[in-house]
């Protein structure tokens, strides 16, 4: 039951009728007419609304059902943004969007659309100057113990016109905290979904925390989330993001975390120093773009090469016809 429609994949009040294609929702056999009756009577603009067409995305962060619309055309690349609470995950995403909004490229790729523009703008708003010139960091991502994270979509095209769809998870850090302790915990279902479904991961290590008095706890949290992530990682790329890198941590701390990771089995691993502050010659911002570009590159390298076969087999009717058609 989704909203006023009895069908689980239909959200008629946001997207219009998804199942029957009704122009007037009151004609739909699945629509709960009783529940919406009062509202409809109150609405003066009904006739206009009846005759209007909706689009199948709201602009806000995707939920899992919204992925259907996107995934119907091509498989999007799901990138899991992982790490404990206030490690800078949302700030990283907000900075990425701000960079694109200023025309920055991700390697050879540049912005080609998004179905979650409002979602991006919402998080970027915190890194934008307000009337009082203030910048706030995005607040804590709400832990409403959902099972699917908020998903942010980005379409990119390269100079050859090749299009890719990226979907980033924006999940509360608590999920990963529960998950590192017990993958079957009720509150870890969202984190488990991310681990099961994502094509690549970024693990966030907060330099601020790694320098402070709680650095012992921070190290063990990062290590234990890494332990879970590297389980069944196979060829999926995993990037370690040193967030808030404008703060310099000790080489010993850095070494300890890297050493822990180097012990594991993986195919693609890399590390990136990032910050909302641009750093010398913009290096921290560049690293945000580079981290995504690295993931795209590694995923492309995972694709098998197309098998070669002889097209000129005249005895094979199918292949010879193919050849005739050029």
């Amino acid at each position: 039951m989704a909203g006023k429609c009895s069908q689980p994949t239909c959200f008629p009040d946001e997207h219009g009728c998804n199942v029957e294609g009704c122009r007037n929702l009151m004609d739909c056999k699945y629509y709960d007419k009783n529940e919406s009756k009062n509202e409809v009577e109150a609405s003066q603009s009904l006739t206009q609304e009846e005759e209007s067409f909706r689009i199948p995305w709201t602009g806000n962060s995707f939920g899992i059902t919204d992925l259907n619309f996107l995934a119907a055309s091509a498989k999007p690349i799901l990138i899991g943004i992982t790490g404990v609470a206030s490690a800078g995950k949302t700030s990283y995403l907000a900075s990425l969007y701000c960079l694109l909004r200023h025309g920055r490229k991700i390697g050879d790729y540049s912005f080609a659309g998004s179905l979650t523009l409002n979602g991006w703008e919402d998080i970027a708003w915190y890194l934008s100057w307000k009337e009082n010139g203030n910048i706030q960091f995005p607040p804590h991502t709400a832990n409403n113990s959902g099972r699917v994270p908020g998903l942010l979509h980005l379409a990119l095209k390269n100079s050859l016109g090749k299009k890719i769809d990226l979907v980033f998870t924006d999940a509360p850090g608590e999920w990963f905290d529960h998950w590192r302790n017990n993958i079957y915990s009720e509150n870890a279902k969202g984190a488990k979904w991310i681990h099961d479904n994502c094509d690549a991961f970024l693990l966030f290590a907060d330099c601020d925390m790694l320098l402070g008095t709680k650095r012992g706890q921070a190290k063990s949290q990062i290590n234990s989330v890494a332990d879970r992530l590297f389980e069944n990682i196979e060829a999926r790329p995993i990037g370690l993001v040193w967030s808030k890198s404008d703060i310099t941590i000790t080489e010993i701390t850095r070494g300890q975390i890297l050493e822990h990771i180097q012990e594991k089995e993986f195919v693609h691993f890399n590390q990136f120093e990032t910050s909302v502050k641009e750093g010398q010659e913009g290096i921290f911002h560049q690293n945000i773009c580079d981290s995504i570009n690295w993931i795209i590159g590694r995923l492309n390298s995972n694709i098998n090469s197309i098998p070669k076969f002889n097209l000129l087999k005249s005895e094979d009717m199918f292949l010879s016809k193919r050849e005739l058609n050029g």
């Binding site: 209007s52 602009g59 025309g103 991006w120 100057w129 009082n132 016109g161």
Partner: protein
């Protein structure tokens, strides 16, 4: 009209974007028959209500009023160029609020659906002086306390950036028209019109495409990645050449409105013949 090319141009622009003045000035030039494109003498539009207010106001050297919010009319102009090729140019007239309504309410009414389906070319009006400059950590860094003090009551908060607004609008229009986004788009071709060019004081030969790239980089990348190069153009426009008010401008009255206004073509060259913009709109250049 058997040999006429049907070109339905959909003019897309929010409130105050300059659609009405452009319509009036374009019509004035077309009917004068002194420019490249002309209205066929035997095909004068029967009903000129759409242009009535703007033509009267411009003749008096005043600015035109705001198009009423409920208005939804259109006018078909049958025009030909020097080669006597016929073009049917549909000019819809509506209040700019309707465009914002589409994005804000995420729905498109039947009238707009017909406009979109029928159109073969889109003209998106972007008024440069209405764009709120982006100020975020990328170009401004983290503000220092001095700066914080300075701006206590200045610009309103950036909620949804202008670039995101235009990208969403185009994405919605493309969806309603049923145009896939995998390959680059050939039809409808898109012309982005940067209006109120005169008050920007750009140096001569400024290329409009470069201005779009500088001012709205997100929109620039979106359209560049979405449209075929030959189906995409960016031009500058100053319909009235100077800012008109409700007070009569004597120079306007004496010289007549068609002596004012210009476009900046895709190569950055100033052209007084506004009708030449039609070539761009219908994708003939």
């Amino acid at each position: 009209m058997d040999n006429a090319t049907e070109n339905s141009v959909l003019i897309i622009g929010g409130p105050n974007a300059g659609k009405t003045h452009f319509g009036g000035q374009l019509y004035g030039r077309l009917i004068s028959r002194k420019f490249n494109y002309k209205i066929s003498p035997n095909n004068l539009p029967a009903d000129l209500t759409i242009f009535e207010d703007v033509l009267n106001k411009l003749a008096e050297g005043k600015r035109a009023g705001h198009t009423e919010a409920s208005a939804n009319r259109n006018i078909e102009l049958k025009i030909n160029d020097e080669n006597a090729d016929n073009i049917v140019f549909t000019f819809p007239d509506y209040a700019g609020e309707q465009v914002n309504f589409i994005v804000d309410n995420r729905r498109i009414n039947t009238v707009w659906k017909q406009y979109i389906e029928k159109s073969s070319s889109w003209m998106l009006f972007v008024r440069l002086d209405d764009l709120k400059p982006l100020e975020d950590i990328i170009n401004k860094g983290i503000p220092d306390p001095e700066e914080l003090k300075k701006r206590n009551a200045t610009p309103p908060p950036v909620k949804v950036s202008d670039a995101a607004h235009f990208v969403e609008l185009l994405q919605m229009l493309l969806y309603i028209k049923g145009i896939p986004s995998l390959n680059k788009i050939d039809r409808p071709n898109l012309t982005i019109v940067l209006s109120c060019w005169d008050i920007q004081n750009f140096p001569d030969n400024t290329i409009p495409f470069d201005v779009l790239k500088e001012r709205l980089p997100l929109l620039y990348n979106f359209v560049k990645n979405t449209w075929e190069e030959k189906s995409l153009a960016v031009i500058g426009l100053s319909s009235t050449e100077k800012s008109l008010t409700d007070e009569a401008d004597e120079e306007y009255i004496d010289k007549t409105p068609i002596k004012f206004g210009y476009i900046i073509n895709t190569n950055g060259l100033k052209e007084e013949d506004l009708t030449l913009s039609i070539q761009t709109f219908i994708g003939r250049i």
